[in-house]
């Protein structure tokens, strides 16, 4: 689509730039900006110094309800919803800001940021579409991501009731080395 105003165009480039800097995949950019694919590719290469990864985006809601990803997804969502409710941000601005704050929280707690910005964006879309929702834990009253059809009346979150093998994954750095 042709953009009529230079200022609008600059805003679109800024929007795309902040998403690329956080590591968003091309599909996210194509859906959230009005820039052409060619310009997005060029911008991506300029910022990341390489071509964007190819292939489909992860499309399943299952990942978000496994133990560790669920903690990360629920944390991101808590920040995102607070920003959306307290300020007049559009959802992409809120995703970018919430994702930066989420990264800060991970650093502060010495956790690896398991949620990529692309997954974070998917998460927001899944919640918008009603495929994922938030349920309140009956113990800590925190709100956690669950699937649309999950029963939530007696819901207890994965942190109040830790599965016995929780967190016993190999160090991801070592996992990559092998």
């Amino acid at each position: 689509m042709r953009l009529s105003s230079v200022i609008d165009d600059a805003a679109e480039v800024r929007r795309a730039t902040s998403l690329i800097e956080l590591g968003a995949r091309l599909q996210v950019l194509e859906s959230e900006t009005r820039m052409s694919r060619e310009r997005l590719l060029k911008l991506y290469k300029e910022i990341q110094g390489k071509s964007p990864p190819k292939g489909m985006l992860p499309f399943s809601t299952d990942w978000f309800v496994t133990w560790m990803p669920n903690i990360h997804a629920s944390l991101f969502m808590a920040i995102y919803q607070t920003l959306i409710k307290s300020s007049a941000l559009d959802d992409v601005e809120a995703i970018v800001k919430a994702y930066r704050l989420y990264l800060e929280q991970c650093r502060g707690n010495e956790l690896l940021a398991e949620l990529s910005v692309t997954r974070a964006w998917r998460l927001v879309r899944f919640v918008d579409a009603g495929m994922l929702k938030l349920a309140s834990c009956t113990k800590c009253s925190g709100r956690f991501i669950v699937r649309d059809h999950d029963l939530t009346r007696h819901y207890v979150c994965g942190l109040c009731h830790m599965p016995s093998r929780a967190g016993h994954t190999k160090d991801p750095a070592k996992r990559l080395a092998h």
């Binding site: 944390l75 607070t82 920003l83 307290s86 300020s87 929280q105 707690n109 956690f144």
Partner: protein
């Protein structure tokens, strides 16, 4: 003598808090609301305070900042020495982000 010293300390804390709050709000308001846990109306007032006004407000005998979390669960998670230290921190972070007044 002792009270005087305490009042001085309160004034110093108020001053740092108000200056920091104003700095955060001017830098990025949306983020500041999250970090400070205040409403947009209060943020607008703080943003517009002059240095003179800040100094005057800071000299009150009450602290202008307060503990944000009344929930004992949050405090227990924050002070935990559990094996899964980072996970407890993330748990606390989830509860804290949801406890902000405007998120109700």
């Amino acid at each position: 003598m002792k009270t005087e010293q305490l009042l001085d300390e309160i004034r110093d804390a108020n001053l740092s808090y108000l200056v920091l709050a104003q700095h955060l709000i001017r830098e990025d308001k949306a983020e500041a609301l999250y970090r400070l846990g205040i409403s947009e109306e209060v943020a607008d007032v703080l943003e517009g305070l002059s240095t003179g006004q800040i100094v005057k407000i800071a000299a009150a005998n009450l602290l202008m900042c307060r503990f944000r979390f009344d929930d004992a669960i949050v405090w227990n998670l924050l002070r935990s020495h559990a094996r899964e230290r980072g996970v407890a921190g993330a748990h606390a972070a989830i509860l804290m982000a949801q406890a902000l007044p405007q998120a109700a």
